[in-house]
């Protein structure tokens, strides 16, 4: 593969690999290579020839519930379907991780539907050239009008899509301009390091607007109802059959031009709610891919050696125990408001036991290695805390609650496999400090309310950000805006200041590193949440399946898979 644009050059120059560098370079790039398309197709030709292979995959604990990822209530697994059914203007590059697994490369933006793009001189807009030969599944050519309609839809429809677009400062339909049939311009409201990246995430899909328009109504101006169950895409796969909660069949779109034609001809995604059955199906060879593995299965299937396993630490993601930091909780005094208590809890965590028995070592430990004075902006990074009951007892003795107290620990039933043993171990361990922990198992749906309400003293949290920046993570998990994922409801103006400063600056800049290290240090000292591990995303495949690549959106990309 020949390195292509200036993006790469600047990345290569940067000491720390950060996307911001790439963006900076990108924004200053006069002319992104125009032969990007031929490049990518030559990339494709290096892959295997398209075959009529059929791939079956099982999924559980959530099944794609819509074909339209802009719709309210569309779940995560649906993004995987949308990802291959629809194209975006750009996509990310590919890299090899140290363990040999392929991963997306967030430092590289590559053409998808757009064959090239150009930053404006003033850096306040970008102009995309669309592929001339690209068509939708119904054969209609992809035009800039379609792109505009799709972008308008994403910023207008509300809910998560609009929110995510906003994260990249894409907020207003006025920003999107049709220059000609195959030229599309995005005007920036303000310089934002996330804008370009945000156009490569799953949200801004390009929809066949002409196909949708007959189905628009006043009540449903964006055709959510129709798109919910119909295919209006131009992606590598088109819809075969969609039976909600049962199965989805995708077939290869032979006229796909936005990348190398996938090798697999047909993909069947099946819903199997029972984890044990999913595993049995894989072991019996009845399916090709099990994409929903418990940590235990990860460990044991890997140990069998009969299957191809890929386990990738999930970027910017942490399993943690969040303690509510407000002085008052539900009208009562809240012991966790006392920082000594929080630190004591952090020292009392049975980290290794959790790692072994709850997670079967299938995660990256985030404890015991770090220092209170971090010197890296890597995130997540391990805390300096390790299991030290003496220290914990000392701290609790110094706190306002030397004799302990009663509290409760809530977890999401959806995470039962690892969360339940974890909380039981924590309960046992905290009992030694005199902290009596009641366990509360909350059904999946209700847990979201728990997060929103912030009504529990202690919860098991599982938060990860798509965009791989520590400041992004901290903005949602530690910032005083008290977002949903700030499970501790932690509010500290000093912390906020550092987070905001980091957000405003760019990786590589000294103030960025200073602020990031600063807020990590503060997090370790204040300890509103106790990081446990960085989880891994795992997939088990039959040995004849290859080409798996990790994506930040944590869904399987069928386009890259191959089956012998």
């Amino acid at each position: 593969m020949r390195r292509r644009s200036l993006i790469k050059t600047s990345v290569g120059l940067a000491a720390g690999i950060t996307l911001a560098n790439g963006l900076k370079a990108c924004s200053s790039a006069e002319s992104p290579s125009t032969d990007a398309a031929s490049d990518s197709s030559s990339d494709g030709s290096s892959g295997a020839k398209p075959t009529d292979a059929r791939l079956t995959m099982v999924q559980g604990g959530g099944f794609p519930n819509s074909l339209d990822l802009h719709r309210v209530g569309t779940n995560r697994p649906a993004y995987g379907i949308s990802w291959v059914m629809y194209d975006r203007l750009m996509t990310f590059g590919q890299k090899e991780l140290p363990d040999g697994t392929l991963s997306y490369d967030y430092t590289q933006l590559e053409p998808e539907l757009a064959e090239s793009w150009e930053m404006a001189e003033d850096g306040m807009s970008v102009t995309f050239k669309l592929r001339q030969d690209a068509t939708f599944h119904d054969g209609a050519p992809v035009t800039a009008q379609d792109v505009k309609w799709s972008y308008d839809r994403a910023v207008s429809i509300g809910g998560f899509p609009t929110f995510q677009m906003k994260a990249g400062a894409l907020e207003n339909p006025d920003q999107f301009e049709v220059v000609d049939d195959h030229t599309f311009r995005v005007k920036f409201l303000r310089p934002d390091k996330l804008t370009m990246i945000d156009m490569a995430v799953p949200i801004p899909v390009i929809i066949n607007s002409e196909l949708v328009k007959p189905h628009l109504t006043d009540a449903d101006p964006w055709g959510a109802e129709w798109l919910n169950v119909n295919d209006a895409g131009g992606g590598a796969y088109q819809l075969g059959e969609f039976k909600p909660n049962e199965r989805i069949t995708l077939t290869r779109f032979e006229d796909w031009k936005s990348g190398p034609l996938p090798q697999i001809q047909e993909v069947i995604v099946l819903n199997v709610p029972e984890a044990g059955n999913r595993r049995a199906l894989l072991e019996k060879g009845d399916i090709d891919v099990n994409y929903d593995l418990t940590e235990k299965d990860q460990k044991e299937i890997a140990a069998m050696g009969e299957f191809t396993m890929a386990s990738t630490p999930i970027e910017n993601c942490l399993y943690s125990i969040d303690m509510h930091t407000n002085a008052q909780l539900k009208g009562a005094e809240n012991p966790f408001a006392d920082v000594k208590v929080r630190q004591a809890v952090a020292y009392a965590m049975p980290y290794d036991a959790i790692m072994q028995t709850a997670l079967y070592d299938q995660a990256v430990p985030m404890y015991g290695e770090g220092t209170f004075d971090p010197d890296s902006t890597t995130w997540p990074q391990p805390t300096p805390y390790k299991t030290d009951m003496e220290q914990a007892k000392k701290l609790i003795a110094e706190s306002a609650y030397p004799n302990g107290f009663e509290t409760s620990l809530a977890f999401d039933l959806g995470n039962q496999e690892w969360a339940e043993p974890t909380v039981v171990l924590i309960q046992e361990s905290l009992a030694e400090l005199g902290i009596k922990v009641g366990i509360e198992k909350v059904p999946n749906a209700n847990f979201r309310s728990v997060l929103v309400e912030k009504s529990r003293p202690m919860i098991v949290n599982n938060f990860g950000g798509w965009l791989n920046y520590p400041d992004y993570f901290f903005f949602y998990a530690y910032h005083g805006q008290d977002a949903t994922f700030n499970g501790s409801s932690y509010q500290n103006p000093e912390m906020d200041k550092m987070i905001e400063a980091a957000l405003a600056s760019k990786p590589g800049e000294p103030e960025y590193a200073e602020n990031v290290e600063g807020f990590i240090e503060m997090a370790w000292e204040e300890m509103p949440r106790v990081p446990l591990v960085q989880p891994k995303l795992s997939v088990a495949m039959q040995n004849n399946v290859s080409g798996y690549q990790y994506w930040f959106h944590r869904q399987l990309d069928f386009r890259q898979l191959e089956k012998a």
Binding site: G276, N277, K296, A358, Q416, L425, E428
Partner: protein, 281 residues
């Protein structure tokens, strides 16, 4: 007292199955009473070093994913499970008896209102109703008991109502009225005790169902809160380990649960015989 004992002995000795059921039942009660005292290990103490060990001489039923002794957990769970069964059944029995007796005895509007309510309850798929109730009220042991009691209510009310209905016109009820008994006294002292033997069968069958019901709720995540040891949740959680070969997690609690339900099922006929004076000879 001695005659009662003798009678009990007679009933039990008459039927091998009843004898077995009674022995089993007393075994369970004994285990429930002793509970922690006879558990070889602390049922809640985890030990990651010995997690998921198959049955050994030290841990007869093996250990679970946290290294807790399955045998100890099964033993300790007995009290809770019997408690759930007994309380749930007792609640629906008491309320169902009152409603059913009134509806059957008074007839008319009382009957119509009670029957309508019961019909409404019956029109729900019972397990779904239990699910809904536990989901709405929160999954605690009390709520599981309430939900189980509510879904069993129609059964008791209907059975008692129809039994009272056939006896309402019986000679001994008229005789009771002739001898100066008011309605309430007739219901409480004359009708209800005569319905009791029939109810014993349902009662014991339901105890088994109550446990199964709790197990089913556990399976869909609406069971008791961890780390409480309860058969149903142990089976439900253990069931996912069957395929990976850790069969003991589900099998032992499952076997004990089955034994208990089995025992309750078989107990019914014996209990009816025990409580029915007609069986005394």
């Amino acid at each position: 007292m001695t005659t009662t004992l003798k009678h009990t002995r007679y009933i039990i000795s008459q039927n091998g199955i009843t004898f077995g059921a009674f022995s089993l039942f007393f075994g369970f009660v004994l285990i429930a009473v002793l509970g922690n005292a006879i558990a070889p290990y602390d049922p809640l103490a985890s030990n990651s070093a010995i997690a998921l060990q198959p049955p050994t001489a030290l841990h007869w039923f093996g250990t679970d994913q946290l290294g807790r002794d399955v045998l100890s957990r099964v033993i300790v769970a007995t009290r809770l499970d019997l408690g759930i069964a007994v309380l749930a059944v007792a609640m629906s029995f008491v309320i169902g008896s009152i409603l059913g007796t009134c509806a059957g005895y008074f007839g008319g509007w009382t009957d119509r209102i009670v029957s309508r309510c019961i019909d409404t309850l019956m029109a729900f798929p019972l397990f779904v109703l239990a699910m809904g109730l536990v989901a709405a009220l929160g999954n605690s042991i009390e709520n599981i008991i309430y939900a189980t009691a509510i879904i069993n209510l129609p059964l008791y009310t209907r059975v008692i109502r129809s039994e009272v209905l056939v006896r309402r016109e019986a000679g001994f009820v008229e005789a009771a009225r002739l001898t100066g008994n008011g309605d309430w006294r007739i219901m409480a002292r004359h009708l209800f005790p005569n319905v009791l033997p029939v109810m014993m069968v349902h009662l014991s069958l339901n105890m088994g169902w109550a446990i199964l019901n709790a197990a089913g709720l556990s399976f869909i995540g609406l069971g008791v809160q961890p780390p409480t040891a309860e058969w149903g949740i142990m089976v439900a959680e253990g069931a996912t380990y069957i395929v990976s070969g850790e069969w003991w997690l589900a099998l032992f609690p499952g076997a004990v649960l089955m034994l208990a339900v089995f025992c309750f099922n078989l107990l019914g006929d014996g209990l009816r015989d025990l409580i029915d004076p007609r069986m005394r000879t």
